[in-house]
Amino acid sequence: TVGAVAMDTSGNLASATSTGGITAKKPGRVGDTPVIGAGAFADNDVGAVSSTGHGESIMKVCLTRRIAELMERGLSANEAAKTALEFMSTRVGGAGGVIVISKKGEVCHSFTTSRMAWASVTQGTLKSGIDPGQEFTENL
């Protein structure tokens, strides 16, 4: 699965997610990716999120909408992402990852799988990583 979240120069937010699913899935099985509030969510009044991971688990907890709701309640983007992924893990047992931009311009990623490739561009800096806590930085 791949995804992207952006804020443009007018402050508008958007998200997109795309996937090929799971190897040897049952034909016709559809996971979280094309489901609003599961595979992606975006609202200028809150923030935007794209997810990846165990599709059925992500759908059961409406992962990206849950993160938006936690941000609405005042959590930071990072706190909301970690809280929602932990909830998914404990409540339905799935692992996954998310990227988030809040309406305030917070940019973050979080994952509970062993690895997730990510990259961001903010204020002239390209950041990226794949292992937990890893962050490569390059000034553009």
Partner: protein, 174 residues
């Protein structure tokens, strides 16, 4: 305002041999999305551009790097959401097109619907002039090998188990 861009290439037990390709792929996608934003493109333009880069990269499970279903076929899902008015478009189980995220955007821009699936999504792609690729075009040698590994394993043990990483705790990740 300063444009902001972040992308991901999937959360799972990414094997070591895919590390550099994955990092290079997400970096290229983030830079492309950011280039679109800096040239005055909208947030929607940017996320579609970034995901298109990732769909065209065989390191990722989307578009050209998609995994295979039980029948050995590719089925693709994608979604786009615009935070300005919550408009959205999505496709599921669409086959033989390179960039489902671009088709999802057309569902958002040109229909009254949120999601088109299967045959309907394929027909919509045809209506919109998407190139229909040969069925093998999106099947990489890696995807075929992984599929064959799975089929052999399940035949041997008679149980469902993803060949993706061998760890049941991490199986089933899209």
């Amino acid at each position: 305002m300063e444009p902001l861009m972040i992308v991901h290439g999937g959360a799972w037990a990414i094997p070591g041999e895919l590390t550099e390709r994955s990092l290079n792929g997400v970096r290229r996608a983030a830079l492309e999305g950011h280039r679109v934003l800096r040239s005055g493109g909208s947030a929607v333009d940017a996320v579609v551009a970034a995901v298109t880069v990732l769909e065209d990269d065989t390191a990722f499970d989307a578009g050209h790097g998609a995994v295979l279903n039980l029948k050995g076929e590719v089925e693709l899902d994608a979604i786009v959401i615009d935070g300005r008015d919550l408009s959205s478009g999505a496709v599921c189980a669409v086959q033989d097109i390179a960039n489902p995220v671009q088709l999802a955007r057309l569902v958002m821009d040109k229909t009254d619907h949120c999601l088109l699936g299967g045959v309907g999504a394929n027909d919509f792609a045809k209506e919109q002039g998407f190139e229909r690729l040969p069925p093998t075009e999106l099947v990489t040698p890696e995807a075929r090998a992984e599929w064959e590994k799975y089929i052999k394993f399940t035949t041997a043990v008679g149980a469902l188990f993803s060949a993706r990483d061998g760890d049941p705790k991490l199986t089933g990740c899209d």
